[in-house]
Amino acid sequence: MGKVRLKYFSRIREIIGKPSELIEIKSKNLQDLIEELQSMGEQYSVLKGENFAVYSAVDQNMVTDVKASIKGATEIAFFPPMTGG
């Protein structure tokens, strides 16, 4: 895999402490990626979704299957439950 732009929104952005970062990743799906990010710091454990649901969008498409491939993705976003309207 190559470099991917990770984006964080709302409470996740606040916990991770930045709105986005460009990093080199090895993982082939979201589940592995969330595991991989743990090594970068304790704050990334928010992505496991233990305190509140975490949603993901790969290249601006919502993804619900954490085992779906992220091969070739250029942007992966993580965010908490949405509260629009």
């Binding site: 984006k7 709302s10 629009g84 309207g85």
Partner: protein, 141 residues
């Protein structure tokens, strides 16, 4: 996407009269127009200082367009417009505008409710209420 569908994710406010004029230029067949306006309301106990709306703009626009397409395929509608704001808003400021227009009013009402229902939990916006100098991310209701 259908040219009777207009979607905007924006910081500026919207103008109801101008929106009505734009709609009238597009359709002469619709007798019913439903506007839903969501605005910043005061809290029960606290005094709201402001509401901060964060958005994932590109995905939000895409998700709203999808629900509008879906509504256009479900109900007989002449016009659909959604404008959702982000940024720092104060008490009584407008947040969202949904306009649906149809020949028969039932379609406009039902499509409007459907779009709002979806907006609440499927479109990437997040609201943070700031009151008494404490911040609170709004939970879904």
């Amino acid at each position: 996407m259908d040219n009777k569908i207009i979607v905007r994710v924006q910081e500026p406010d919207f103008d109801l009269n101008l929106e009505m004029e734009a709609l009238k230029l597009k359709t002469k067949k619709a007798g019913a127009v439903v506007f839903f306006v969501g605005k910043v309301r005061d809290l029960e106990d606290d005094k709201l200082q402001y509401l901060e709306i964060e958005s994932f703009e590109e995905l939000a626009k895409r998700q709203i367009e999808e629900i509008c397409d879906n509504a256009a395929n479900t109900w007989d509608l002449e016009y659909i417009l959604v404008k959702h704001r982000f940024g720092r808003l104060k008490l009584n400021d407008n947040i969202v505008l949904v306009i649906t227009s149809s020949k028969h009013r039932e379609n406009a009402y039902e499509a409007s409710r459907h779009i709002m229902e979806y907006l609440k939990s499927n479109v990437p916006f997040w609201k943070k209420e700031v009151a008494n100098n404490t911040e609170n991310w709004v939970e879904n209701s």
